[in-house]
Amino acid sequence: MAINLASKKILVASAHQRMRDTIKHILVSVGAKFITTAESGVNSIAFLKKDKFDFVLCDYDLLDKKTSQQVLEEARHRKLLPVNSIFIMVTDEHRLELEISTVDNKPDEYLIKPFSPIQLLSLLEKCLTRKEYLSNIENEVDSGNLYQAIYHCEQLLQLNDKSMRLTLLKMHAELALKIGDFKKAEDIYQNILNQRELPWARLGLGVVAVGLADYDRAIVTFKGLIAQYPMMLEAYDWLAKVHESMDNEENALSVVNSAVTVAPKSILRQKKLAILADKTENIALAQKAYMATIELGKTSVHLSPSDYSGLANIYLKNNDADMALEIVNRMNYQFKNDPEAKITAALLEIRIHQEKGTGHHMAPRLAQRAYENLAALHKQYDKRITRELRLEMAKAFCLSNNRNIGNEIIDDLVKTNVDDTLFLQDIVTICDTFIAKNHAETLIGPLNKELAAFNNTAARLFSEGDIKGALATMEQAVLKRPNNHKIILNLIKIIIYSIKISNADPKTIMIAQSYINKAIQLGMPYNQISVLQTQLDTFK
């Protein structure tokens, strides 16, 4: 066996001493020196937080309620696994079983128990070879350099290694989707499908259609896939997304509901189902889905205070204030010392006591106390909580006697989210209802004037030949409006021009690249960015 594990850090997790010993013994026999063992999911996560492992071999059975699936989910969610690390799930259940075929987070490989030393080692070797083969691509993706990742993909494809061809084409197409090069992605998927009907390539064509906003074609594609492969959860997810994009929440709800029937243990889908059912006033379904979410959340990293507040709100809709209060208590128990939970609880208590108000003499005083509590929490955490929750707080303050605090929060939210159209829309709605019509517009107006001034100054300096001055102006502008498409685009153009007229300084090239990466992240169109990337590449 050619594999050399001498320099590799390996985590072996299993509830069974013999399993840990067996694996350790096999690994040591081929030179492994750095092996850590854990018997529970909690300990595994603790080790993963402390150290960067090259291999994680995780038994499905662990000594706490967590399974290897949840360890993997949490490790990925918290970004505890370095890009080149390999996660192998050791299980005695064939993937043939429903549960495994419908999970979202798949490990690099499964190792089916019982296994021989040869099976384990050849699996490790195969994973390692594959990771090393793809490391250039994965490292660039990890750093956000998607164009460079595509370049490496194309290079490897030219080597014509048949065993890696489809893997590389799949990566290439996914990267093309990420940078918004839908034409390229479509070509790749279509070429594969011309040779063979492969479900993931068909799904890819659907995603291309979504990218091109060709929703009718996307719906036909995803529906076809679901009919043929009823277990293909991604097809449901995309179909629901399309319905949502078309503002058809009823249809989205029914699609997510089918997906949940196929895979009831997926917490994120239960959560989505709850929110959609809540929005569309399917109260009974929403209640069921929130409860399922909270139950699954006991061992999942994806549980959040908003799941409890969702359920409490359902009880309020059913006029069951006592049960709502009970849910708040459970949330406080589950999330001790979590600022988001504390604020969510305070917000709910206000509503609960107001709701109870009519029949209960203590209620007004309790509601007032909850308000005071909320004000104190706002003072304590201020901007360190999510914008969605801050907006909720603002709403509550505007409804109370504390309109000033409400206005203050809203003004700040407008300023910091002025370039996020979707969220801004939510703020504007709340402004219109609770403050005054056009209040948001009076805040946004000056901000856009300031933006125009920056652009004009930079353009003037640029035309006068003061490239440095123009650059400095735009750098100032990007600090004020970090997510503004126009600012970023102009800034990249000026940096590239400055590289062109002076020496191609590697550091400046890197800065330009980082802004291009940011532009991709913000979803700016392919035709705008690809030109700049091509120009920048000529200096490399």
Partner: protein
């Protein structure tokens, strides 16, 4: 009223839930077995090995039954992708490594490195694995597992030098359930499963299928799985 009427309507689901129940019991047994082995790690290795082997056979059999049931209800669809045939053979070889090193039967695997096939890897390797296991039980001295291209199909072939298949397992009508034979111990499940799995693989108007005969180059049974 005849007895069959009691069973006809929901017997399938009753069987399936029983299978599921037995499978869960078996899981518990296996956990217990693991625990016992933790305690007695130096003793009775052969017995523990035998126990593990037999419980694996049972587990595999139950899994195949459940998969068939889910297939029947359209609750299961294969995940087709491209794989090197050599990788699939290697996986099966590695799985049987300890089993063959135990007995006197030689295991050979043969395949071109640049042969690729489209399939659900788990399903195909599970189906082949069971049949390799059977071949090992019935062969005298060797089992050959090979893969090759035949026209538009990739063919996986298992040959041994045993007595050959009994007449009842050589039909080409695998869609028919095998004749119930409680005396011989040959359930035919492995072949039935392989046929069902082969059928799940299609390309254009071609479908996968299996063939069994006694034309092994070593004079025993020969099994062939065709994938389009």
């Amino acid at each position: 009223m005849s007895n069959t009427h009691i069973l006809s309507s929901s017997f399938n689901s009753l069987l399936a839930s029983s299978v599921n129940d037995i499978k869960n019991s078996l899981k518990t047994l296996r956990t217990l077995h693991d625990r016992l082995r933790d305690i007695h790690h130096d003793e009775k290795q052969n017995e523990f090995m035998q126990l593990e082997y037999e419980s694996n056979r049972m587990y595999n059999c139950l899994m195949q039954l459940l998969t068939l049931y889910k297939l029947d209800l359209s609750q299961f669809s294969p995940t087709i992708d491209e794989y090197a045939a050599a990788d699939i053979l290697e996986e099966i070889t590695n799985q049987h490594d300890s089993l063959f090193s135990f007995g006197k039967v030689e295991f050979i695997s043969q395949c071109d490195n640049d042969l690729f096939c489209y399939c659900d890897r788990m399903l195909i390797s599970n189906a082949l694995s069971t049949l390799v296991n059977n071949a090992q039980r019935y062969s005298r001295s060797k089992v050959l597992l090979s893969a090759s291209q035949e026209n538009d199909y990739v063919v996986f072939c298992i040959e041994d030098d045993g007595e050959g298949y009994p007449e009842s397992l050589m039909s080409s009508e695998y869609e028919q359930l095998p004749q119930l034979d409680l005396t011989s111990g040959n359930t035919g499940l492995g072949l039935f499963f392989a046929e069902a799995v082969a059928q799940l693989h299609s390309q254009a108007n071609k479908r996968g299928y299996i063939i069994t005969d006694n034309n092994s180059q070593f004079g025993g049974a020969r099994f062939k799985l065709y994938l389009p």
